[in-house]
Amino acid sequence: MIYLDNSATTRPFDSVIETMARCMRETYFNASAAYRPAVEVERAIRACRQAIAAQVGAQEEEVYFTSGGTESDNLAILGVASLLRQPANFVCSAIEHPAVLETIRRVESMGHEVRVMPINRFGVVDLEACASLIDEHTALVSCMQVSNETGAIQPVEQIARLARAKNKNVRVHVDGVQGFMRVPMQMERMGVDLYSLSGHKIHGPKGIGALVVKKGVRLAPQMTGGGQEKNLRSGTYDSPAILGLHQAVLEMGQRRAEIDRLRAMKARLWSQLAKAEGVRLNGLPVDDPCSAPHVLSVSFEGVRGEVMRNALEGAGILVSTGSACASHKQKVSATLRAMGLSTEQADGTIRISLGMMNTMEEMDEAAAQMIALHKQLQAFRRR
C-alpha cells in the first residue's frame, strides 16, 4: 500500500507508539495528583510544552493542550468572541477548514459581523482585499497557515502586519494544523497571537493538539471543570497523548532535513505527472517558495476525482478527493471554484499529501499508476 493521504492523518512514528504504551502501562498517574510519580508525569508534560514552544517561537507557559485542531480553533474564536461587550467583526479567509468556518458562523449568530477574505487564482489570500476588510471594529483575523486542499502557504505575516496597522487591538489567529513543523512559524516575529496545532498530522497521536496563546491575550474558557491549563481548558491531562505528541515533535525535529526530501518527492511526483496529457496542477508551481512541501492538488481531465480515487485504491494507492473532511459531502470544492477551475475540473481533482514515511520510489510508482489509470478511465467517459 502507498499512503498518500497524510493531510487526512499520518501513521504515528514507532517511537510515538512505544512512548504512549509505556506511559499507559507505567506512568498512568494523574498529572495533577500530589505524589511523586504524578509529579514526574507533570514534568514530562512540561517538557512537551517546551518542545512545542521552541518550534513556534513562543514560551512554554503559552502552550495550552486541547483535543486537537478543531478544539483549538473553537477555543481561539469563541474565546475571543465570548469576551466582547459590543458587536464587532471577525475576518477569515474564504478557504478555512470547517473547524474555523463553522465556528465563525456561530459567532455571526451571536450578533457579530463576518467578513471573508477572497483568494486569488493560486489559492492564496488576496492581501489588497484583506486590507480593506479590517477596521477598528475587527476583533479577530483568522487565517490558515497552509491550505489543506492545495498546499498554498498563506501570507499570515503580512496579514498580521496589515491588521495591526489598522487596529492595534486586533487578535490574529492562525490555524496551523497543516503547517506545524513542515512550514516555519515564529509567532512573536510574525505577529501571531493564537496558533492551533494538531498531533496526528505530524505522525503523533489523534485526539491531542494545542492552542498557543501569546501572553496578554485573554480568552474565555469554553470548558469548565477542574481548572487545568490555568483555567482555560479543564479536563484531566491526556498524558499518553501528550507524551506521544512530544515524541512526534522530537522526531520531526531530528528529521528536519527531511522536509526538503518531502519537497523533492512532491516535485518528482509532479514532474512525472506533468509529462502526461490532461493533468493539471492546481495552485502554485511546486517549486514556488509559497507551496507547502507536502500537499499537491491535481485534476485529471475527463475523470471524476472520486472515480480516480477509487481506481487508485484498487491499485493500492490511497489518496483523497478535495479534502477528507469535506469529501463525504460530495460538493465541488469552493476553494477550487474560487481559484477559477470549472466545475468539471474541480470535480476531477484529487489531493495527494506526503508524509515522512513516503519514499521516492513510491512517487514513481504512484505517478505511473495515475497516468495509466487516467488513460484507461478517460477512454470511457460520458458521451
Partner: protein, 382 residues
C-alpha cells in the same frame, strides 16, 4: 408472580389444517429473536409467551420485528386463586397512568368462580377506589387493563403493535435486487413480511462506485436482517458489462440494457439460491427505466415472476415506509450506486424491444454474464 411478554399473532389465525406448520415457524422465529437475551418461549392457549429474559425492552423491540407477530404486551403472571391480590396488582399497574381506563376480562377457565363481566366490574371498582386520579370510560378509554384467567392470571395494560405479516420461510424464497437507494429495501421488506425468505443481489461498479457504496448496501441488508434473520448478499462486479454496453449500444438504451443484464444475472443467482421470484424497488413512472414499456422490456428476459411491491406507491409514501422500517437514513447516504453513474442524458421512455435485442447482439452476453458470476462475492449478514 413474574413478568413476561404476551405475544399475539395475526393472520396465522386464518390458516386451516396447516396452521400448526405456520405456528411452529413463528415460535421458532420468536425464539431465535430473543435467543441472545436468554428468553424462554412457548406456545399455549393461542398465545406465545416469552419469559426469563434479561432485558425486557430489547426483547420487545426484537419480538415486534418478527414477521407474523401482531402485537406484544408486557404482562404480569400470578396465581389466579386470590382475586383480591389480582385487583391489588391491577391497581399497582394503573397507578402511574393518567386519564381514563376500563377493565377487560377474558376467562378460558370456565370453572373460575367469577365470570368475565364480574371480573371487569370488581377489578374496575377496586382500581377506581384505590387510584382516585383515574376515571372510567368504557367507550374511548386511554388505557385498557386486560385480565385473562387461564392456567394463571395474566394482567397487562400496554399493547405494542408489531410488524404483522406471515412467519418467515412459510412462503418460499425470492431474490431482491438491492441498489442502495430508498426503494429496494422497502420492496424487500414488503415481500419478506409475507413470509418470503430473502436473498440479495447488488451490482458493484468499482472504480465508479466506492468501497463505501458497497458498505452502505451491506448495512441496508443488515438492517433488513433485523426482521428477516440471516441474509446472503451476492455482490456482483458489474463494471465490465456497463463499459461494454456504454461502448457498443445506443446511448438512449444503455440503462434499459443494463437493467436487462441485471435481471438475467439475478435470475441465475436466484435459481442457485433456490429462490422462485425476483423483487425490485421499481415504481411505475418514477424514472425512464420504470415506464410501463420499459418494465415490459426488462421483464422479457426473466423466466420467473418479478415482484414490484412499491409499484403503485408515490416516492413520499416509500420514504415514509423506509423511515418506519429504519432503512431511510442509510439509504440517504450520498455514495453513488451503479445506476446513477452511467445515466444517459436522454434515456428512451418508449423503448422498442426489437432495437434493444439488436443492440444486445453486439455484446458477448454469455461470456460477460459468466465472468460476472465468477467474480461474485457472497457476504452473509445478520
Amino acid at each position: 408472580m413474574r413478568e413476561l411478554l404476551l405475544v399475539r399473532y395475526g393472520e396465522v389465525f386464518l390458516k386451516g389444517q396447516n396452521r400448526p406448520f405456520f405456528l411452529r415457524k413463528l415460535v421458532d422465529h420468536v425464539r431465535e429473536a430473543v435467543s441472545g437475551l436468554g428468553g424462554r418461549v412457548w406456545l399455549s392457549d393461542g398465545r406465545i409467551y416469552v419469559s426469563d429474559f434479561t432485558d425486557m425492552q430489547a426483547c420487545i423491540r426484537r419480538v415486534t420485528r418478527v414477521f407474523g407477530v401482531h402485537s406484544v404486551s408486557p404482562a404480569v403472571e400470578m396465581e389466579k386463586d386470590n382475586f383480591e391480590a389480582i385487583c391489588e396488582q391491577a391497581a399497582r399497574m394503573m397507578a402511574p397512568l393518567q386519564g381514563t381506563f376500563k377493565v377487560l376480562a377474558r376467562r378460558s377457565d370456565k370453572r373460575y368462580p367469577l365470570d368475565s363481566p364480574a371480573i371487569m366490574r370488581e377489578a374496575g371498582g377496586y382500581i377506581l377506589e384505590h387510584v382516585p386520579h383515574l376515571q372510567v370510560d368504557v367507550n374511548h378509554p386511554d388505557h385498557e387493563m386486560m385480565i385473562e384467567i387461564r392456567s394463571h392470571a395474566y394482567l397487562s395494560v400496554e399493547k405494542i403493535m408489531a410488524v404483522g405479516g406471515m412467519p418467515m420461510g412459510t412462503n418460499g424464497k425470492a431474490c431482491l435486487l438491492l441498489s442502495g437507494g430508498i426503494d429496494s429495501p422497502v420492496a424487500g421488506f414488503m415481500i419478506a413480511k409475507r413470509g418470503v425468505e430473502i436473498c440479495c443481489v447488488h451490482y458493484h461498479s468499482f472504480p465508479y462506485t466506492s468501497e463505501r457504496a458497497r458498505e452502505k448496501v451491506l448495512e441496508l441488508a443488515r438492517e433488513l436482517s433485523d426482521y428477516c434473520g440471516k441474509i446472503r448478499v451476492h455482490v456482483v462486479p458489474f463494471t465490465e458489462i456497463q463499459m461494454q454496453i456504454h461502448e457498443k449500444c445506443p446511448e438512449n438504451y444503455t440503462t434499459l440494457i443494463m437493467r436487462r443484464y441485471m435481471m438475467r444475472i439475478a435470475e441465475r443467482i436466484a435459481r442457485e439460491e433456490g429462490a422462485q421470484a425476483l423483487i425490485t424497488g421499481e415504481s411505475v413512472g418514477q424514472v425512464a427505466s420504470q415506464t410501463m414499456e420499459a418494465l415490459g422490456c426488462t421483464d422479457e428476459v426473466v423466466g420467473m415472476p418479478v415482484f414490484r411491491p412499491v409499484i403503485g406507491m408515490d416516492k413520499s409514501e416509500i420514504i415514509e415506509r423506509a423511515e418506519q422500517i429504519g432503512t431511510f437514513a442509510t439509504s440517504s447516504l450520498p455514495y453513488e450506486d451503479c445506476c446513477t453513474i452511467f445515466t444517459p442524458k436522454h434515456p428512451a421512455t418508449h423503448p422498442r424491444v426489437e432495437l434493444i435485442r439488436k443492440a444486445e447482439e453486439k455484446l458477448d452476453s454469455q461470456t460477460l454474464i459468466e465472468a460476472a458470476l465468477d467474480g461474485t462475492e457472497v457476504v452473509e449478514l445478520g
